[in-house]
Amino acid sequence: MSTIMAPNVKAVSAPGKRTVYSMCGMCAVRCPMEVTVENGRVTWLQGNTHDKAIGASLCAKGAAGIAFEHDDQRPQTPLIRSGPRGSGQWRRASWDEALDHIAEKLKATVEQHGERGIALSDRGGAFNDLARTFVKAMGSPNYFNHDVTCGGNVHHAARATYGFSHAALVPDFERTKHLVLYGRNLVESLMVKEVKAFTAAMSRGMRCTTIDPRASATAAKSTRFWQVRPNSDYALNLAIIHEVLKQEAYDKSFVERFVSGMDVLRDAVKDTTPEWQEPHTGVPAAQIREFVQEIAGQRPGVIFNPGWMTARHKQSFHVSRTALILNALMGNLEVPGGFIIGKRPVFYGRKGLKPLLDRPPAVTEPRIDGAGTTHPTWDPAIGALHQLFAAMETAQPYGIGAYFAYRHDPLTAMPDAEALKRALDKLELLVSIDVRYSETGWYSDVILPESTYLERANILAQLPGPVPVFVMRDQAIAPRFDSRPAWWIFREILRRMGKMEALDFETIEEIWSWQLEGTGVTVADMREAGIVRLAEAPRLGTRDELKFFTPSGKIEIDSALMAKAGLPFLPPYQPHTAPTGDQFRLLFGRSPVLAHGQSLNNPLLREAAPEQRLWIHPERAAPLGIGDGDWVEISGGGSYVGRLRAYITKWIHREAVFMLHGYGATVPLATRALGVGVADQRLQHGKLYEFDPAGAGNALTETVVRVRPAAQQGATA
């Protein structure tokens, strides 16, 4: 096949009306979706009704998919930088020219640093088999996902304690009696299926305790709200565990059989009484006792959500871990109303998709971040991305010459863009593969436009769950511009490096057929409904089948991985001093209409997006002379100063200020988002290399900012 032809699926431009099964691409949740195509145009998007958990629902971001497709403000051809990095000087290039250019730079990198000098980061998820295969085929161990600024701490806590990821814990909301959330803003983060199940459960009478220094939309739906001091949730958990043990409000038979290290736990919490935690968290001791009395009558239908975005502070790993320990104490695993453990196909006597990752030869080079080796609690399958940037700067333990940011925007996602740019400046090659202009794309050497989620097909994905499923994103329409699907882009780079065997496929259907070999499922089956369930109905595992993939086979409070890493199992709580005067902890969060930095340039979402305001407590705002609606200046210690209006409310803790993330973009060609609001990540000065040592997650909410009334009222251009 010529390398200049876009590889469309057959009959993509066929006339008439048809339904294509796909997965939404407007955020990283990837909801299953039905696309109505009429004469080559998308006319309707809705949830895939073959998946009862979502029905036809889609969120505002999903609804804005057609507007995104029609938007011209996205890269339309490969672009090669023609001026200094970040100058915005580009020249259009053909795919052959851009890919040849990349291959040439990669060869120079390999010559200087070896194959290990090539790295890639993405945002993980169901399709990441492809990107991991690309990196492995390159001969490099350095694949990273984005989890240092997302779920790294909880992922690693679950891995160290249960032996599998928290992603395998599926809440049985239909029967849950009480849900406990640590800043987990599930209403506004908005995974459609989760929110549907949550609101249905709340209608049914489920209790929900939300622990957050700020009243999010989730707090506004909860039955209990603990407005804790910022970064104090670990102290809260130590006290809850103390009280659970004291009141003997736990499942003794479950603990006896499935938990190792109760002595370690008893010792760690012997003095962490409800009174002890009160000055740390601000939650009255009596309320902790009352809470424990309540859950004692509700277990095992009590779920402590271990967190999602857990890149908060240097003990966030232990917040997740103590939540996971609390779930074990509730005995809520694999029981109705608790967590159903995600099943692998073999549980139902089925075979899973063949991983592309098995195709390239093994890579023996050590990972640059020491994940899985010098840092045993860090999962080598996802890595610790900040350590890649540290290595770029220092060339230690070895040099990195080329970096692919694949639909990932570290200059928005990671703290301290100034520090990150210093690291990126050391690269010989920075490539952004994306459907839009990201901050990182704008700073890249080459932008490769990936076809949008409606214009491309992805590899098949397998999702664990009570019933594991295969899901597909089929191609709905032909690309509007000179873009390509990722599998083709990666194959073409590998081809130029003489390493194409790993992705030696001519069409996506060929890849699908290979993935499906031996599963008893065909491409035609997949296309019938976009989703194939590997069992008729879910089956709960028996106690005898319950297995934890730790060395002991039990839930390890005395984690073998942590012992190997020389980490304390349950370290003492590290208190934080309260910022005073004009200083505040900076908290950030989500709007339900925005997905991080990727949505604000969408015409419909820009319109729906709220004005970004700085939440500040009235008792802290008054002495600073800040009134509701006033313009304020906010700085994090670097050269960046943001201006936005104040929102005076008692629903933000006195010690903190809060703002939405995803604003303050600087790419001139994305005109609707340009200069709108403040980039919280640029206020997280000095935080690029500050992280929880056990879980690798960045300590983002330890950021302290200064706030003062703006000298002049009004936005800066």
């Binding site: 949830g47 908005l190 549907k196 209608s203 009478g205 709200f225 309540e294 339900p592 209409v593 419909l604």
Partner: protein
């Protein structure tokens, strides 16, 4: 009033604005007009816990519709068979009388066409036996649509569930 009801179960609404964008997307609207709108206020303090109030503002499809009376060209029309108030774009001259007349500001100005657009319950979908776009794709299912007496009303049922759940809570 039209024979239909579009019910918003505010207690089950999360204010995610999906309805607004589904509506706009279905009507191919760009920036500006919003035929339906979720107005969220708060957080406010209700017995010590934060609460956000959500109000859904589509068109009420009035019996004696101000907009229909104000329209000088007959573009704004009340459909005989079911009372849906809709606008015929070909007859709209963009005078904005309907926008002025409506007590709730429901008719919307579309700068792309220099005409008015408004909620018509997606009557092409209704005629095809489907539900309006906002209802079809609502995230939580808090919107429902149908003949006025047949629209599911979850409020009584939920109240009963709350009463039942109460003893479990105090245990």
């Amino acid at each position: 009033m039209s024979i239909y009801a579009l019910r918003h179960d505010a207690a089950n609404c999360i204010g995610c604005q999906a309805c607004e964008v589904h509506c706009k997307s279905n009507k191919n609207l760009g920036s500006g007009p919003s035929p339906c709108k979720i107005i969220s206020t708060g957080p406010i303090d209700v017995d010590g816990v934060p609460r956000v109030r959500h109000t859904f503002m589509p068109c009420f499809h009035c019996e004696e519709a101000w907009c229909v009376k104000a329209c000088p060209t007959g573009a704004m029309t009340k459909r005989e068979k079911d009372g849906i108030v809709h606008i015929q774009a070909a007859l709209c001259v963009g005078c904005k009388s309907c926008i002025t007349a409506c007590p709730w500001g429901t008719p919307q100005w579309d700068p792309a066409t220099n005409k008015v657009v408004k909620c018509d319950y997606c009557m092409d979908r209704v005629d095809a036996g489907l539900q309006p776009a906002c209802v079809t794709k609502c995230v939580t299912g808090c919107l429902s649509f149908g003949l006025a007496n047949e629209v599911p009303d979850p409020r009584r049922e939920r109240y009963a569930h709350y009463l039942l759940a109460e003893p479990a809570r105090s245990e």
